[in-house]
């Protein structure tokens, strides 16, 4: 069965699906989760707008960005598919109460982001991932180690990141929101996992 149909059947409410001329438009909600100042906003800015700002400004609440991917032909469906990401930039949460979990509701996947220069942010990924999966038990995760541009290769940190990825049976990727290194890869890796793009 084609990916697009699979998605449609699997989670009818988590995606907005409608036709645009002949194209099938699939909107997916994905979240960026992780501790404060790990670079969630910068990753989105780089992926959506190809820009980076050195100044750190903490996010309050949630900001949605939209990224429309180029249409692709799905030969099995015989349709053109227009994928759109609704990307939720969620502030580093300190208290995972009912209200905070509402931010995660209905997401198809998440990039769980840690700062490679702050080891504690890797440990903190667990509480973010657990809370996210509480609300979206079938959603997919990709673990991200950000700030590779200022990371002095440390095998302990890589090993920590790998362990988190293994724990959630997923992959991890090292990125730099500043240079743009592997940022697109991260989002594409997640979208492949959630069955958005074949």
């Amino acid at each position: 069965m084609a990916d697009c149909c699979f998605v449609l059947l699997r989670e009818p409410f988590s995606d907005t699906i409608h036709t645009m001329k002949n194209a099938l438009v699939i909107k997916k909600k994905i979240c960026l989760i992780g501790s404060f100042a790990v670079g969630k906003t910068s990753l989105i800015e780089q992926f959506v707008y190809n820009r980076f700002d050195e100044t750190y400004l903490t996010t309050i609440g949630v900001k949605i960005s939209q990224k429309i991917l180029p249409p692709v032909e799905d030969h099995q469906c015989g349709r053109t598919i227009q994928h759109t990401f609704l990307i939720w930039d969620i502030a580093g949460i300190e208290k995972f109460d009912h209200m905070a979990l509402n931010y995660f509701r209905g997401a198809s996947g998440a990039l769980a982001v840690a700062d490679l220069t702050r080891r504690e942010t890797i440990e903190e990924l667990h509480k973010y991932c657990e809370s996210f999966l509480t609300v979206n038990s079938t959603a997919d995760l990709v673990i991200i180690g950000n700030k590779i541009d200022i990371f002095h290769e440390d095998q302990h940190i890589i090993s920590d990141l790998r362990k988190v990825a293994e724990h959630y049976s997923t992959d991890f990727l090292l990125t730099s929101a500043k240079s743009g290194e592997y940022v697109d890869h991260a989002f594409l890796m997640l979208s492949k996992k959630i069955g958005n793009i074949s």
Partner: protein, 456 residues
């Protein structure tokens, strides 16, 4: 909804939108319209998901609210740009509606609250990062070196490189007041853990025998007054930085001892035969031309080369062009806070005057100049004539044996006093505080005399 509740929501600026099971907005009140207008949200498409894409993904949950199986759905601090590109923050809440098969969306503009929260979080997180993250500290401290001239950019770049190697010895050279102390601190805090010690010693301020015991420490009984063992500064700086300010003033005997420490990376407390390893970075600073002092045999050549592993020259203020205005503007902000004033900037003449002045005392002199100006100013802009570039000469103390003679036809003392006060006011351009200083009086005493002579 009853009228009282409607009125209450209106007063509290809380808007209500009612939508049906197809997610089409069927009713919207004036407050909600106003809030949406500020975030440029057109109502041409009345689908709730078009107005609030934030609700996408929560369809089934909202369906359950309409069926009254769930109480509510809250989304706080939704970020939206307003018409000027600034961020607005909205709180959304979905509730069951009195109207059958409908739901209510409660909407509130919480921008002020969100910005206050953002400010608090920003400070909290920056403080945390400053303490725990050396990369953040490096960037943060680098920003504390103000300016964009080539000299400043080069300085930032060099400091950034030096900070990456926490053991390198650094020599800072520059005129007095050019920021050597700040540069030393930036290097230290950028390269060391936040709790690593920064030990500063002014080589010109201590006599030679004290300098030695301060630096190396001593054992009990090492000399007459050594009643207990004491750690020296070299030991206290373990794992951090020792900053030797005014190294050019170091006595020649001490130069030999310091050279030995630098060569062996070891030292001994006075009166001890046990060596202690030096485990700190040494940064020294001088306003002298050390090469010249070497030529004049005032400074040991071998020590000069030991200290001069990486040398950083701090440019004098007069070479920094427009950065003078950047620094002055920064200082103005500080003095506005300190003196509770609202001076909002410099006139073009004042800027030109600052750019033309040679600033022999560099940033320290600029700071003093602006502090003096800010004490006296009572306008919202600093003009050239408000800037006091030189310390006002001290009031002339008349010699005790100065002979003042009374003319043979006599004199009215009060007339003399009145004339002197008028002269001082003219000199001080009617600034009473300045005039009082010229006369060696307090401002209150001068005010009393102005009233007495009806000079107000």
């Amino acid at each position: 909804m009853n009228e009282h509740l409607k009125r209450l929501l209106e007063v509290k600026q809380i808007g209500i939108m009612t939508f049906d099971r197809d997610w089409t907005v069927v009713e919207i009140d004036q407050v909600a319209k106003t809030i949406l207008a500020t975030v440029e949200q057109s109502m041409s498409d009345r689908r709730l998901s078009a107005i609030f894409p934030e609700l996408i993904g929560s369809e089934s949950y909202i369906e359950e609210i309409l069926d009254k199986k769930n109480n509510d759905l809250r989304l706080d601090y939704i970020n939206r740009p307003d018409l000027n590109g600034n961020l607005k923050f909205l709180n959304l809440m979905i509730l069951p509606s009195d109207r059958p098969n409908c739901g209510s969306l409660v909407l509130e503009d919480v921008t002020e609250r969100a910005l206050a929260l953002q400010q608090i979080n920003q400070q909290k997180y920056e403080l945390f990062l400053y303490r725990h993250n050396s990369e953040f500290r490096r960037r943060f401290l680098s920003d504390s070196i103000l300016g964009d001239s080539q000299a400043i950019r080069d300085l930032r770049e060099t400091i950034h490189k030096v900070s990456r190697i926490p053991t390198t010895t650094v020599l800072l050279m520059g005129e007095t007041g050019s920021g050597k102390n700040l540069a030393a601190r930036v290097i230290h805090y950028s390269s060391m853990p936040a709790d690593a010690p920064f030990v500063e010693i002014n080589c010109a301020a201590l006599p030679e025998h004290l300098l030695e015991s301060e630096l190396f420490g001593y054992e009990k009984g090492a000399f007459t007054h050594a009643v207990a063992q004491r750690q020296g500064l070299l030991e206290e700086a373990k794992g951090g930085t020792i900053f030797l300010d005014e190294i050019g003033e170091l006595p020649i005997n001490m130069q030999a001892k310091l050279l030995h420490v630098l060569e062996t990376k070891k030292f001994r407390r006075l009166g001890s035969n046990q060596t202690i390893d030096v485990r700190s970075r040494i940064i020294s600073a001088t306003n002298r031309d050390l090469q010249h002092e070497v030529n004049r045999k005032n400074f040991r050549e071998d020590l000069f080369y030991r200290l001069n592993v990486v040398s950083i020259r701090l440019a004098p203020l007069r070479e920094m062009g427009d950065d003078i205005i950047t620094i002055a503007t920064h200082l103005l902000k500080i003095f506005n806070i300190e003196f509770k004033k609202m001076v909002n900037g410099f006139s073009d003449d004042a800027k030109q005057a600052m750019l033309n002045y040679s600033w022999p005392g560099n940033v320290r002199e600029l700071s003093n100049c602006l502090e003096r100006t800010m004490i006296f100013i009572e306008k919202d802009q600093i003009d050239a004539q408000d800037l006091i570039f030189f310390q006002s000469p001290s009031p002339q103390i008349l010699p005790a044996n100065q002979n003042w003679t009374v003319p043979s036809n006599g004199i009215v003392l009060e007339d003399v006093e009145r004339q002197l006060i008028m002269s001082a006011l003219t000199l001080a351009r009617n600034n009473k505080s300045k005039a009082a200083r010229l006369l060696g009086l307090t401002r209150d005493t001068l005010r009393y005399r102005l009233e007495k002579y009806q000079l107000e």
